[in-house]
Point group: C2
Chain length 257, copies 2
């Protein structure tokens, strides 16, 4: 749990559910790079994924969305619940006992204050195109920035585990459902979507087989336009067939890479 959240829930304890929160692993893709949005609470040297408490009036999905919106300024991002984390070690941390809390905040609190009990975290991941994001850090965050998924800073609690589980879930998802609508421009080239899949999966995919299979699903449509990319052959542009895409999200699209 982050210092800022402790403050927030102390100031407005009545509007939040207790002992349960949402952690939302925000993945950002841009130009063959996959990154994750992390924040560093003031007065702590470790980083956390974005997360927050759940209001009594909202669902866990709404909470995950609200958190993503508050950091990225974007709505209608693709997001997905992947699993919940909950065990007593989630509270064994320097910030999670009364003495340390008082030292950090100057506020005196009883030893058995309920916020020192562990919190069950419901994990979501969210996908976004990171060049479109104007990061808005929270008032209690010293920093909020993108980190490459294979070069993460020191993370609080089990957040490294949460990120790796989120990535595992994302890679499983990509093998069964279409992906990319929120990550590419409306019109995109075959090499662009090819790179997206390679980057998320972290492995090369044969370009001929990739194009063959992707076209076979019908979720993308070739346009009669090309994109000029300089001193090279101009690639054709494609767009998603939103109907087929949504159908794929519902029923699965056979793209088992």
């Amino acid at each position: 749990m982050k210092q800022s959240d402790i403050d927030d829930i102390l100031i407005n304890p009545d509007q939040y559910l207790r002992n349960v929160l949402v952690d939302n692993v925000i993945f950002g893709y841009h130009n063959k790079e996959l990154k994750v949005l992390l924040q560093q609470p003031i007065a702590l040297d470790k980083w956390t994924v974005t997360g927050g408490y759940i209001k009594k009036t909202e669902s866990i999905e709404e909470a995950a969305n609200r958190i993503a919106y508050s950091r990225t300024g974007l709505k209608n991002l693709f997001f997905q619940q992947f699993r919940a984390f909950g065990n007593p070690t989630r509270s064994i941390d320097g910030s999670k006992n009364a003495k340390n809390f008082t030292k950090l905040s100057g506020i005196e609190v009883p030893d058995d204050l309920w916020i020192f009990d562990y919190f069950v975290s419901v994990g979501f991941y969210t996908l976004t195109e990171f060049s479109m994001v104007k990061i808005e850090k929270g008032v209690y965050e010293a920093e909020c920035q993108w980190w490459p998924i294979d070069d993460l800073p020191a993370l609080m609690f089990d957040h490294e585990h949460i990120i790796s589980e989120a990535l595992k879930a994302l890679r499983l998802h990509i093998a069964h459902y279409p992906i990319g609508y929120e990550l590419l421009s409306e019109k995109f080239t075959l090499p662009e979507i090819h790179s997206l899949y390679e980057t998320i999966l972290g492995k090369p995919l044969d370009d001929r087989n990739f194009a063959k299979r992707l076209m076979a699903t019908g979720i993308i449509v070739k346009l009669n336009e090309t994109k000029r990319i300089g001193a090279h052959r101009s690639p054709f542009l494609y767009r998603f067939d939103k109907e087929k895409y949504n159908e794929g999200l519902e029923n699965g699209a056979a793209l088992a890479f």
Copy 2:
């Protein structure tokens, strides 16, 4: 939330996490039938899946196990988290406001008591062989019994949805990982495991292709014994190769039915 749980958490509020609980959908298999263990709290006419609060000293997995043990008397059952449920409508229910609560229990409580806020439910499912289970109903349950999955009684809250999501998760699991170790005798016949798969998936599977594929995974081993089943040809007995089975649980076993 069940009446019994409300009592329990009122009597011992300090040992449990607040606003979060575990619901454990216990599936029972026996003789070509798949059932789910449901309980009916005293003074209510609707049924619920088994569930309970999470102690501050235990993980959500330990809580799910404790619940399964308390109802079935069995340990080391196969269980799996599938997803969390949380939205404000989870608290709109006859038992979830102060007036009704007082009417049912005779205990006066304030209108804004925290237990009337909604609870996030972390959903697990558990598999067991139901002829081995001696059902132990909780002190606050009027009934606790097996129900066929395609003939359920009226269920509280979103519990029908929880069961259908659990079943969906189980069927997804069975397509990617081995299953059955906890559901069959140590030695079993091909027709027995064939029926198990057909029952869980709810559809017929070609017997020749099933045997071919199952043997190809190496997770079962043919023994040099047969089982006498009366006036018919005696089927051979098989057992699981526990090493291959566990490896399949870790890395997946290609059995995409």
